[in-house]
């Protein structure tokens, strides 16, 4: 077990190096001079451009720049953006907010998704099953910004039941609605995954044996069938968590949440390569760790999957 974890941690190093280099190369290969739009609708003075390029190592060839960047990164320095703001300071403030939002969204989708999936699965072909299938199809079909803007307008602006936007403190109460919106599409996927797997496992020989041995239906489904059905769901949720961290751009904009998604977007928009690479590096790291956690969870859910 510990050997396995150690091996996985060591494997992360080449992945991290490779992915950061690809991102670094891609971001800085984008056309356009980052100073061109900095002085309003006019070109910047040559001295300004020169100082800017020198401060941000823009004159060095790409491999040298990457080496310098990684050297700083190894010492825990994520660099300063083109606007002279430390990336680490930004991320320290933004990651907790986004993590809170993504975590709450995950709780929503797991709770509602699994319960709906189980209810549909055990009554296959009945009303409940059809209801879940149709309603999830409906949610998947609507773009997330429509759900977000509609709920914001009715619950926030019109009826005043929820705060319209999220304050800088980003309290749990304020994040309830955005987290619900963010998790809504995934709820549908989780419900459908749970249902399909449960239906399949309900037909499995081991379940028939368990019931024949005299186990109650509730215990047979809850302990045996559901546990085996959850493996694909856990995989999905793990991947989804990483996606939610970086991909909550739309939800963050609608509710004005100062999180990672919006930061990434403005970074790309402003040609601010340093902030993009810094954010993504941390994202890659989180993604790898979450995936490791998911792999370890497999062993818990199904003891036949061993990590030794």
């Amino acid at each position: 077990m510990y050997k396995y974890i150690l091996r996985r941690l060591l494997q992360m190093i080449p992945v991290l190096l490779g992915s950061t280099f690809i991102i670094f190369a891609m971001v800085f290969a984008l056309p356009g001079d980052p100073t061109a739009g900095m002085c309003g609708e006019r070109p910047c003075a040559p001295a300004f451009v020169a100082k800017f390029k020198q401060e941000h190592n823009l004159n060095d060839p790409l491999p040298t720049r990457y080496a310098k960047y990684m050297g700083n990164l190894a010492q825990g320095d994520l660099g300063t953006t083109f606007r002279d703001i430390k990336v680490a300071d930004e991320l320290k403030q933004r990651y907790p907010t986004t993590a809170k939002l993504a975590g709450m969204a995950i709780i929503f989708e797991t709770l509602i998704g699994v319960i709906a999936g189980v209810m549909a699965g055990i009554r296959k072909g009945k009303f409940m099953d059809n209801l879940v299938l149709v309603s999830t199809l409906f949610v998947i079909a609507i773009p997330i910004f429509v759900i977000g803007a509609t709920l914001q307008y009715y619950l926030g602006v019109k009826w005043g039941l929820r705060p319209v936007t999220v304050s800088p403190q980003a309290t749990v109460n304020e994040l309830l609605l955005p987290a619900f919106v963010l998790g809504s599409t995934s709820v549908a996927y989780v419900a459908r995954l749970t249902r399909t797997n449960l239906v399949e496992n309900l037909r499995a020989d081991y379940l028939r044996t368990a019931i024949a041995k005299g186990l109650t239906r509730r215990r047979a489904i809850g302990l045996h069938a559901l546990r085996n059905s959850l493996i694909p769901v856990v995989t999905f949720i793990g991947a989804d968590f990483g996606g939610l961290l970086g991909g909550a751009i739309v939800t963050e904009r609608i509710f004005n949440i100062q999180g990672v998604g919006g930061y990434l977007f403005t970074g790309i928009h402003n040609r601010d390569g340093v902030s993009v690479v810094g954010t993504v590096t941390v994202l890659v790291l989180v993604f790898l760790l979450v995936n490791l956690l998911v792999d370890l969870l497999y062993g818990v859910l199904d003891p036949r999957i061993s990590h030794d």
Binding site: P31, G32, D33, P34, A36, G37, M38, C39, G40, E41, R42, P43, C44, A45, P46, A47, F48, A50, K51, F52, K53, Q54, N59, R83, D84, I85, D89, E90, Q93, R94, A149, Q152, Y153, G156, V157, G160, P163, V164, T165, P168, E252, R253, I254, F255, N256, Q258, G262, Y263, T266, H269, N270, R271
Partner: protein, 553 residues
Amino acid sequence: MRGTTRTVAMVAGISSVALLAAACGGGNSDKTTSSSAGGKAGGAVTVRGCNPQNPLIPSNTTETCGGNVLDAITAKLVHYNAETGAPENDIADKIESTDNQNFTVTLKKGYKFHDGTEVKAKNFVDAWNYAAYGPNAQSSGYFMEPIEGFGDTQCTGSGDDPCAGAGKAKAEKLTGLAVKDDYTFTIKTTEKVSNMAVRLGYSAFAPLPDSFAADPKAYGEKPVGAGPFKFDSWTKNTEIKLSKFADYSGKFGGKLDGITFKIYQDEDAAYNDVIANQLDVTDQVPSSAMIDAKYKTDLPDRNAAKSVGVIQTITFAPTKVDPNYADPKIRQAISMAIDRDTIIKQIFNNTRQPATGWVSPVVDGYKANQCGEYCVYDAAKAKAKLDEAGGFKGGKMTLAYNADSSHKGWTEATCNSIKGALGVDCVATPVVDFATFRTQIASHKMKGMFRSGWQMDYPSIENFLAPLYKTGASSNDGQYNNPEFDKLINEAAAQTDPAQANAKYQQAEALLAGDMPAIPMWYSTATFGWSTKVTGVKITAFGTIDFASLSLK
């Protein structure tokens, strides 16, 4: 039983009377606050902000996000009137000149910086020298250009570092600035400048305290000005807090105790917060609320719109880059082929005002209809004009725009209008983003027509002409060159009487109609919305909130 019934009836009676009284009171107070700009003293407001892109140094801030904050915390020599845009003395007691080249500035006594030190003449001179000096690389350094000795403070080298070796700036200080005593200094300009006082209200000309020179970086994090509000805190990407400066001795302080700029990524979110009374003022109304003037029903009696000093134009690539548009008749034909009114109605929901010249109506010296018949849509005349010029030789016309902002709609509509009137194919061509777009224009690689906008630096007719159309000027993207125009601009600058200076500028502007270096499209308007808690919301000529008149009800 009877007793009980009576009591109930009486209670109901009292409460309905009370309700009636309350309703009357509410109605009355609404009337008084909306008709007069009254409102009570004190209290704090929250307004929409955006994220400043640079550390907050006045001479290094060219964008509105940081500019709005700096405007509230700095006091300048002059202050622009919120309604007319005319300069009014703030720190300056008087600015005198007999020849438009030598200016003597006298300061009022008693102005203090937020750190307690007094504002003296040297604070201005040092700040301006810092802004001008090339190696300091300040983005607003060009504002100092008219002052004598500016050329020597610039780096002259080329390549990676223009300040290295022989390219080093010859002088650290502007020779045109001299401190006479604590409250007097003089400005000498290289050429005559007719509107010096108007220019001095821009934040690049704000005085800096002595502590600035010691650590400009720390200053950028927590700027110290001499204005009515002092800087309290800045949570990056979240909010900026300002509070009233008790020792401010000027007259533009207003009634507020505090201002919070809440930073939004999206104007829709800010707008929704205003409707729900969770934000006090937004200076942007999203396009979704502009459709059929929806904002007027969302925010009844809580909205306002006003023209601001921004003009949208279409510029032609320099003749040597694209000779197909060289003939002014072709340019005039294109201009006449654009149906501005219809485009404004259909694309902008009437939030623009058709341009009839090259100067915004908000500035002193504006004259209507300078473009004359060439800015009026007339398909038949346009076609005739094009035939007179011998037709268009380049095959199809192109109109470039930056695709990262919402320009697609109007550029395509404009092209369709041209196509319909002239029978020449016209294509709106996107360029990936603003940075790339500007690079292509500045390096003269862009052919055909391209969109161009101008936001004024200071409210003067001169600012809409000299920087854009004078030979070799910094923003002369089309490389327009007309000796007669240059001559008139120089003559205007020499006039000591503002009215005569304006007359000369107007003559210069009239020349543009003959050459059409750029097609005037429309002037922008700013639309504001505010909560039920505030009153006295005024929009300045720059499209910003006037904090001197804003207050709580």
